[in-house]
C-alpha cells in the first residue's frame, strides 16, 4: 500500500538516513503523555531493552504530548502549539524513539500540514530536518539498529493486534511480527481480521461510546478466539481499550505492549502492571 503523504513542506528522505553507524547510538525517548501517565512499565521496558542493545538513552523532561488528541478532535490550533513544542524539544536529538505508532503517525502525517498552515518556513525547515530521525520502536530496532533478535525470552502464547496507525498510518508492515518471531519460547497465534479497528479512536470512544463499544465487542470476539495468554500491539491506546473490556468480562487474557515482551529475558521476566 502506498504511503499516506500530505506533506508539502517536509522531505521524506527517511530511509536513506537510516544507516547503521559504528559509534555509540544515542536516542531520545519520547514516551508519550499516556504511556508516561498510565503505562510507565512500557517506558521502563523500552529503557531496559534499548540499553541492553547498547543504546544511550536520554529523556527530555520538558516533553508532554505530541498533539494527536487535539488534532484528531478538530482542535487544530491547540495541536499546532503542541507540535511546535515537540519540534523545539527534539530538534537537536540524534534520534527520537517513540513506543506508539499513532503518535508517530501524528508527527509524520499531520505535522507537515499543521506547520504549513499555521507555522512559518523556518519551522517547516526545522521539522523537515528532524522528521527522518523520528522512529517508532519496531522501526528503530529493525531499520536503525538492524536487529530482529533482541535476545528476548517470553514463554507464552501471544496474539498480535495490528493497530490502525501502525498498519495504515506509518506502514510498519511485518516488523513487529519479525521481532516477535525471534522471541524465544513465544508462540505466536494468528488473529482473524487482524487489521480491523478495535474502535478506540481517541475521543471517538467517548463521543461515539456506543458505536465504539460495538466495534470493541466484535474485535474482542476475534482476539479471545485465539485463546492466547496475551494480546500485544505497538500502541497502549488500543491495548487499554481491549484490556478494559477483557477485565470487565473476566477474560483470562491480558494485554501487554510489544516493548515489554521484547525487554523480557530468562533472568528478568516481563514487567506487567499490578
Amino acid at each position: 500500500m502506498h504511503r499516506i503523504s500530505y506533506a508539502p513542506c517536509a522531505s521524506y528522505a527517511m530511509k536513506t538516513e537510516r544507516e547503521k553507524t559504528d559509534s555509540i547510538m544515542r536516542a531520545s525517548l519520547f514516551i508519550t503523555c499516556y504511556n508516561d501517565t498510565l503505562f510507565p512499565e512500557t517506558g521502563r521496558a523500552v529503557v531496559r531493552l534499548l540499553e541492553r542493545l547498547g543504546v544511550e538513552l536520554e529523556f527530555h523532561p520538558q516533553q508532554t504530548c505530541c498533539g494527536q488528541m487535539h488534532a484528531n478532535t478538530g482542535f487544530r490550533a491547540e495541536a499546532f502549539s503542541q507540535a511546535k513544542r515537540f519540534v523545539g524539544i527534539y530538534r537537536k536529538a540524534e534520534t527520537v524513539v517513540i513506543p506508539s505508532s499513532s503518535c508517530v503517525a501524528m508527527i509524520r502525517d499531520q505535522y507537515p500540514r499543521l506547520f504549513k498552515e499555521l507555522g512559518n518556513e523556518a519551522l517547516c525547515r526545522e521539522f523537515a530536518a528532524l522528521l527522518p530521525r523520528v522512529y517508532e520502536l519496531s522501526e528503530f530496532l529493525i531499520d536503525r539498529l538492524g536487529v530482529e533478535d533482541v535476545g528476548a525470552y517470553f514463554p507464552h502464547r501471544v496474539t498480535y493486534h495490528a493497530s490502525c496507525h501502525g498498519l495504515r498510518g506509518i506502514h510498519v508492515g511485518d516488523r513487529p511480527l519479525r521481532l516477535l518471531s525471534k522471541v524465544r519460547g513465544l508462540e505466536l497465534v494468528p488473529l482473524e481480521n487482524m487489521d480491523r479497528c478495535c474502535g478506540f479512536g481517541g475521543t471517538f470512544s467517548i463521543k461515539n461510546a456506543e458505536v465504539s463499544s460495538a466495534m470493541l465487542a466484535a474485535k474482542l470476539q476475534d482476539v479471545l478466539a485465539t485463546r492466547a495468554e496475551y494480546c500485544t500491539a505497538l500502541d497502549n491506546s488500543c491495548l487499554m481499550h481491549l484490556g478494559g473490556a477483557m477485565h470487565r468480562q473476566y477474560a483470562a487474557m491480558r494485554t501487554i505492549h510489544l516493548a515489554q515482551i521484547l525487554a523480557a529475558t530468562e533472568g528478568a521476566p516481563a514487567e506487567e502492571a499490578a
Partner: protein
C-alpha cells in the same frame, strides 16, 4: 425505516438526529447488524480476490485519481465540452444550481411529456434531491426498477448503502414485502422466486410507461456520451424502451475522454461488487433516430458541489465514483448500517460528503463518526484521503463552536481546552498527573481497576474498565533512577 413522524425522510440531513443518537436503534437491532456484517463480508471477500489478481491495482488507482483530479481542476471547460457534444447529438442539457431547481426542471419536462407515471433507474442523486416525493406531489408516480429500490419502495424503506440500497434486509424480509405488496401469499424466499416476482411486476411497467429517469455513472466530455453501469438489465430497459429519457447527473461526473472509461470501469466493478466487469454497461450519445428514446435531457446538478470544489483539501471528495468500497470496509458502518448517517450518502464517504453538500450547519456529528482507522482510504479506487478530509471538517466544526456560548456547557470542549493548557508545560503536566491520581483514587478498587466513573468518564466505563493511575509516572521513575545511577555511578543493564 420509513419517513419519520415529522413527515421528513429519515435521510434528510436537515432533520436527522446526530450520529451517536441515530446509531443507537441500529446497534440494538441484532438482525440489521447481522445482515450488514454478512453482506459487507461477502462483497469484501469478492473484492479482495479480484483486486489481488490485478498486479497493476495501485497504478490503476493512481491513474484514476489523476483523471478525476484533472477533471475537477478543469470542470467548467469539460462540462461545456460535454454540453456541446451532447447537444450536437440531439440531447438537451439543463443546468440546476440546487435541488429545488433540478426538481422543477424535471417536473416541467415530465409535464411536457404529459407523463403521469415514470420509470426510474437506481440513482442516488435523485434521492439526494428528494425527487420521488416531489414527483408524487406533482401528481406523477415514479416506479423504481432496480431490484433493491423496488424492495425499498414497496416496503416504504430508505436506502442504507450506495450500491446495495437494501443491504440491511435479508431474503425473508424481502419475501415478506413482496408477498404483502404484490399479493403473492405463497411466495417462497429463494432468490429465483423473488426475482421472478419482481420481473413480472417490472415487465408490465417497462412495456407501458414511456418516460424514464436515470442517473449517470459518467459523462464523457469528448463525445457527449452518458454511461450507466448496473447488474440487472433493468436499467438497460429504462434506457432503451421509453420515448423520453431524463438523466440527472452531478456536475462532477464528467470524464475527459472515452478512453478514460478503461481505467474507471476496471476499478468500479471490482471495488463496488467484486466483479471483473459489471453485467450491464450502457453507453449512449444524444438521440439516435428510430432507436431508443427520441427525446433526451440531461440535468446537470450543482447542489453544493462547486463550493466543495473551491476548497483544496476537501476537493478530493468529488473524485468519488460511488463504488461504496469504503462503506464495506468501514468498521463503523459495519456496526450501524447506513441509516444512522441520516443521509442518502452513508459510510465514510457520506461522513465527508453530506456535511459539505448541506453546508456545515447540518450533519456536524458526521465528521466525528469515524475512528480514523484509515481502512476507507486504503480501498478507495480514486485515492480519496477520507481521514484527511474528516480532520479538516472536524476542525471547521470546532472553529464554529469556538464562537458559540454553548461551548461553556460542552464538557468535551472544556476538557480539550484544559488538556491543552496542561500540555503546554512539563510542570503543569506533572501537577495534572498528581491531581489525576488523587481524583481517581476514590473510584479505584482494591484490584487497581476503575469500574465506574461519573460524567464523560461514564462513556468509557459503560462497557470497559480502566486501570487506575499507577503510583509512579514514567518520568518520576526516570528521575529517581537518574539519581540512583549517578550516586552509584553504574548504569543498570549495561
Amino acid at each position: 425505516m420509513s419517513g419519520s413522524s415529522t413527515g421528513h425522510s429519515v435521510l434528510d440531513p436537515r432533520f436527522a438526529p446526530p450520529f451517536p443518537a441515530a446509531a443507537l436503534p441500529m446497534l440494538r437491532n441484532a438482525q440489521l447488524r447481522k445482515n450488514v456484517a454478512h453482506a459487507t463480508d461477502v462483497i469484501q471477500a469478492k473484492r479482495a480476490r479480484l483486486v489481488a489478481e490485478k498486479s497493476d491495482w495501485q497504478e490503476l488507482r493512481s491513474a484514476a485519481a489523476a483523471i478525476r483530479s484533472h477533471v475537477l481542476e478543469n470542470l467548467g471547460s469539460y462540462l461545456e465540452e460535454f454540453e456541446a457534444h451532447c447537444t450536437a447529438a440531439g440531447g438537451t442539457v439543463h443546468w440546476a444550481s440546487d435541488a429545488a431547481e433540478s426538481r422543477a426542471i424535471i417536473i416541467d419536462l415530465l409535464r411536457r411529456e404529459q407523463a403521469g407515471e415514470v420509470i426510474k433507474i437506481k440513482t442516488m442523486t435523485s434521492a439526494e434531491i428528494q425527487l420521488n416525493p416531489a414527483l408524487e406531489a406533482a401528481g406523477i408516480h415514479a416506479y423504481e426498477t432496480d431490484l433493491a429500490e423496488i424492495i425499498l419502495q414497496l416496503g416504504e424503506g430508505e436506502p442504507s448503502h450506495i450500491v446495495v440500497p437494501a443491504l440491511h434486509l435479508n431474503r425473508s424480509q424481502v419475501r415478506e414485502i413482496f408477498a404483502r405488496r404484490m399479493g403473492l401469499k405463497d411466495l417462497p424466499d429463494d432468490p429465483q422466486a423473488l426475482t421472478a416476482a419482481a420481473r413480472t411486476y417490472l415487465r408490465q411497467k417497462f412495456l407501458t410507461i414511456p418516460t424514464a429517469i436515470s442517473g449517470a455513472n459518467f459523462l464523457i466530455a469528448e463525445t457527449g456520451s452518458v454511461a450507466v453501469v448496473e447488474s440487472e438489465g433493468n436499467g438497460r430497459m429504462c434506457l432503451t424502451l421509453p420515448r423520453a429519457l431524463i438523466t440527472l447527473a452531478g456536475i462532477e461526473k464528467v470524464l475527459p475522454r472515452f478512453a478514460d472509461l478503461e481505467v474507471m470501469l476496471q476499478l468500479l466493478a471490482r471495488s463496488a461488487t467484486g466483479e471483473r466487469m459489471n453485467p450491464y454497461t450502457s453507453l449512449w450519445t444524444g438521440v439516435t433516430p428510430g432507436d431508443g428514446p427520441q427525446r433526451f435531457h440531461v440535468v446537470l446538478l450543482d447542489n453544493g458541489r462547486s463550493s466543495i470544489l473551491a476548497r483544496t483539501t476537501e476537493r478530493q471528495t468529488l473524485r468519488c465514483i460511488r463504488c461504496a468500497a469504503c462503506l464495506n470496509t468501514c468498521p463503523v458502518y459495519r456496526q450501524t448500517g447506513g441509516h444512522a448517517y441520516g443521509s442518502v450518502y452513508p459510510g465514510p464517504i457520506g461522513a465527508i460528503l453530506t456535511p459539505q453538500l448541506m453546508g456545515m450547519q447540518y450533519a456536524q456529528s458526521l465528521p466525528f463518526a469515524s475512528s480514523l482507522c484509515g481502512a476507507c482510504y486504503e480501498v478507495c479506487p480514486v485515492k480519496i484521503n477520507i481521514p484527511e478530509v474528516l480532520l479538516e471538517l472536524r476542525s471547521q466544526v470546532v472553529n464554529q463552536e469556538r464562537g458559540q456560548a454553548a461551548r461553556f456547557g460542552d464538557l468535551m470542549f472544556i476538557a480539550m481546552k484544559a488538556a491543552n493548557a496542561i500540555f503546554a508545560g512539563a510542570r503543569r503536566f506533572r501537577a495534572a498527573q498528581w491531581l489525576g491520581r488523587i481524583a481517581l483514587r476514590p473510584f479505584t478498587r482494591k484490584d487497581g481497576w476503575i469500574h465506574s466513573l461519573p460524567s464523560l468518564g461514564a462513556k468509557w466505563t459503560q462497557t470497559r474498565d480502566l486501570r487506575g493511575l499507577p503510583s509512579q509516572s514514567f518520568r518520576q521513575w526516570w528521575a529517581a533512577r537518574g539519581l540512583t545511577s549517578s550516586l552509584s555511578s553504574s548504569k543498570e543493564g549495561r
